[in-house]
C-alpha cells in the first residue's frame, strides 16, 4: 500500500500541514463528493467540470477537465492542496504544480478498497480524521450487510452495458464489477482484467447473461433497437435500469450503490 509509507499513487511524498489546508482544488468526482461528506466541502475552491455531486459541488467554480487540467486555472485558484486523479494524463500537471511548490497529491480511486483508504487519508489530511473514518466505516458496513444478505441467494449472470457503438462493458478491474459481486451476482466479463473493455455483440449473445444492466438513456436504446432482441435476457424482459447517480463514482455512495444493485438483481429477496 503506497499510503502506508506516506506516498501518493505517483510515488510523491504526502504533504504535511501545520494547519489543515484551507483552499482545496479537487479534480475528481469521487474525491469532491468525498470531501463534502467529511465536511471539507466549504474549503473546496476549484473542481473539475465532471464533479457534480453532491449538489453543493456545483456552486464551486469549475476549473475545466479532470484529465490534463488547465494548470494556470488551478494556480489561479491559489490552492494550498490540489487533488488529482492518478492517471498518466495528469503526470505533467502534477510535476508542474510540484515545481511551483504547491502541495499536490495524485490518488487512484478505481476500486472499492481504494475508496476506503482515500476516505481515511483525506480525513487526516484535512484535519477531519474522525469524519473520514466514519464515512469509510459506514460504506464498509453497508457493503458487508449487502454481501451477507445475498450470500445464500443464487448468483445471476450480468452484462453491464456502459456504451454502444462501440459496445463497451466492465471487466473485473472496475469497481462496478466488484459491486455486482457484492450484490450477489456475477459479471459475465469478469475474466477481463481491465476496468472496461470493448466487446462484440455476438460474444454477449454467446455468454447469454441472465440480466442486462444499463443506465436510463441506454435503457431506451436497448428497448427500441431490435438488434438487442438477439439477447435472451432482453427478449424475456430482464433489463434493469441502474441509477447512474449512485454508481457513477466510486465514492461515498458505494454502499447505497451495492444495495441498489442487490435489489435490482434479487427483487424477491428483500435485501435491506
Amino acid at each position: 500500500m503506497p499510503r502506508a509509507s506516506g506516498r501518493d499513487d505517483f510515488g510523491g511524498e504526502l504533504p504535511r500541514f501545520a494547519i489543515p489546508p484551507r483552499r482545496i482544488v479537487s479534480l475528481n468526482p469521487a474525491t469532491t463528493d468525498l470531501l463534502f461528506a467529511i465536511h471539507a466541502g466549504p474549503r473546496i475552491v476549484g473542481r473539475s467540470k465532471w464533479d457534480l455531486y453532491p449538489d453543493s459541488a456545483r456552486l464551486v467554480p469549475s476549473l475545466g477537465d479532470a484529465l490534463r487540467p488547465n494548470v494556470e486555472a488551478v494556480l489561479g485558484a491559489r490552492p494550498d492542496l490540489v487533488i488529482l486523479y492518478a492517471s498518466e494524463d495528469n503526470r505533467p500537471a502534477y510535476d508542474r504544480l510540484r515545481e511551483q511548490d504547491v502541495a499536490v497529491i495524485a490518488l487512484r480511486i478505481d476500486r472499492v478498497e481504494h475508496f476506503d483508504r482515500t476516505a481515511r487519508l483525506l480525513g487526516s489530511l484535512t484535519g477531519n480524521a474522525a469524519a473520514g473514518a466514519e464515512v469509510a466505516d459506514s460504506v464498509q458496513r453497508t457493503i458487508a450487510r449487502v454481501r451477507d444478505a445475498t450470500r445464500t441467494l443464487p448468483r445471476p449472470r450480468v452484462f453491464w452495458r456502459i456504451w454502444d457503438a462501440p459496445l463497451i462493458t466492465i471487466g473485473r478491474g472496475s469497481f462496478l464489477s466488484q459491486l455486482v459481486d457484492i450484490a450477489g451476482a456475477r459479471n459475465i466479463y469478469e475474466d477481463i482484467a481491465a476496468p472496461s473493455q470493448q466487446v462484440t455483440f455476438e460474444d454477449v449473445v454467446r455468454r447469454d447473461p441472465d440480466f442486462i444492466l444499463v443506465g436510463p438513456e441506454g435503457g431506451q436504446i436497448v428497448a427500441r433497437d431490435p438488434a438487442w432482441r438477439a439477447i435472451r435476457a432482453v427478449r424475456e424482459g430482464r433489463v434493469r435500469i441502474v441509477d447512474t447517480t449512485l454508481v457513477g463514482r466510486p465514492s461515498v455512495r458505494l454502499g447505497e450503490a451495492a444495495l441498489h444493485l442487490a435489489r435490482l438483481l434479487h427483487p424477491d429477496a428483500d435485501v435491506r
Binding site: K49, S62, L63, G64, D65, L67, R68, N70, V71, E72, A73, L75, G76, R78, S87, E88, D89, R91, P92, R96, E99, Q100, A194, P195, S196
Partner: protein, 324 residues
C-alpha cells in the same frame, strides 16, 4: 512590398508575444504581468507568468518557426505548393514512434520525443526508398506520392495500436496527436531548440540550391547542381525540423502549408529571405493560434492542431482558387 514584410512580421510577432504573456484563463492585470516577469510580488503571478505562459510562448515560437521553414524549403525544392511535412509522411512517422512508445509503456517528456524522432527517421527512409524504387530520381511527384502512402500506413499503424491500448494511454496519445504546447517546459525547449538550430542552419546554407531546384530539375542539372544529393539533403533537414516539432508539440498541421504562401505574397522569391520570413510568420501564426486555443473557452483548451486546421483550410481553399 518586400520591405513591408520585414517591418510587419517582427512587429506582429512582438505584439502577439505581448498578448500571449498578458492573456490567459487567469486575469493578472498589467501590473501582475510586469511583476510576474520581473519575479517580484505575488508568488502566484510569478508562477503563472514564468512557469506557464513564458515557456509556452517560447515553445510556440520555435515550433512555428520550424514548421514555417520546413514548409518553405519543401515547397521550393519540390516545386509543389501543397508540400509540407504532413503531406510527406514525416509527421505521421513521428506520431507512430510516439504512439508505439506509449503502447509499450514508455513514459516521460524526454523518452517520448526520442521515439517520435526515430519514427520520423524511419518514415523519411521509407519515403526515400520508395521514391528511389519508383523513379530512381528525386522526382517531386514520386516523393509526394510516396509520402502520402507512408502517411496512410502510419495512420493505420496508429489505429491498430490505439484499438488495443488501455484508456489512459489512448487519451494521452490522442491528445498529443491533436497538437498542443500546453506542457511546455524549459528542458524540452532547449532540446527542441538545438534540433531546430541545426535544421535551420542547414536549410539557410542550402538556400541557393533551393532557388535552383525551384527552377525545375533539368534547368537545375544544367546549372551544374547535383540534383539528387541536394534534394535529399534539403528533404532530410526539413524532416528533422518537422520531427522535432512533432515530438515537442504533437501534430500541428497547415502551418507549413500556409506560411510560405503568406511570405511569397509579399513578393519574396529568393529562398534565403523566404526561409527567414517563413520563420517569423510561422512563429506569429502558432503564437496567435495558441492564444486562441487557450482563451477561446476558458478554462477548457482547444487542441492547437485543430485551431491551425480551422485557419488553414479556408486559407488554402482561397489559395487554390487563385492558383486554378
Amino acid at each position: 512590398m518586400r520591405r513591408a514584410l520585414w517591418v510587419l512580421a517582427p512587429l506582429v510577432l512582438l505584439v502577439l508575444c505581448g498578448l500571449a504573456i498578458a492573456l490567459g484563463p487567469v486575469p493578472l492585470g498589467l501590473a501582475g504581468v510586469r511583476d510576474g516577469l520581473l519575479g517580484v510580488g505575488d508568488a502566484n503571478a510569478i508562477a503563472i507568468v514564468r512557469a506557464i505562459r513564458l515557456p509556452r510562448l517560447v515553445l510556440a515560437v520555435i515550433v512555428g518557426a520550424a514548421l514555417g521553414m520546413a514548409g518553405g524549403a519543401l515547397q521550393g525544392s519540390l516545386r509543389n505548393a501543397l508540400a509540407e511535412p504532413y503531406l510527406l509522411g514525416v509527421s505521421g512517422g513521428a506520431a507512430v514512434g510516439a504512439v508505439l512508445a506509449f503502447g509499450a509503456g514508455v513514459r516521460g517528456a524526454f523518452a517520448i520525443p526520442i521515439f517520435a524522432c526515430l519514427g520520423a527517421g524511419a518514415s523519411v527512409a521509407a519515403v526515400l526508398l520508395l521514391a528511389r524504387a519508383a523513379g530512381g530520381r528525386a522526382d517531386p511527384r514520386v516523393l509526394i506520392m510516396a509520402g502520402v502512402i507512408i502517411g496512410a500506413f502510419a495512420n493505420a499503424v496508429i489505429m491498430v495500436v490505439l484499438a488495443n491500448a488501455p484508456p489512459n494511454t489512448v487519451r494521452g496519445a490522442v491528445w498529443w496527436m491533436m497538437g498542443s504546447v500546453a506542457d511546455a517546459g524549459w528542458p524540452q525547449i532547449r532540446w527542441l531548440g538545438a534540433y531546430v538550430l541545426v535544421g535551420a542552419a542547414v536549410l539557410l546554407l542550402m538556400a541557393r540550391d533551393i532557388d535552383v531546384l525551384a527552377l525545375g530539375e533539368e534547368p537545375a542539372a544544367a546549372l551544374g547542381l547535383n540534383v539528387d544529393r541536394s534534394a535529399r539533403r534539403i528533404y532530410l533537414a526539413a524532416s528533422l525540423l518537422a520531427a522535432a516539432t512533432v515530438a515537442a508539440a504533437g501534430l500541428i498541421g497547415f502551418v507549413g502549408l500556409m506560411v510560405p504562401h503568406i511570405v511569397r505574397a509579399f513578393g519574396i522569391r529568393r529562398h534565403r529571405a523566404l526561409l527567414v520570413g517563413a520563420a517569423l510568420v510561422g512563429a506569429a501564426l502558432v503564437v496567435a493560434a495558441d492564444l486562441v486555443a487557450r482563451t477561446a473557452m476558458p478554462p477548457a483548451e482547444l487542441p492547437l492542431g485543430a485551431v491551425t486546421a480551422l485557419l488553414g483550410v479556408p486559407f488554402f481553399l482561397l489559395r487554390l482558387r487563385t492558383l486554378a
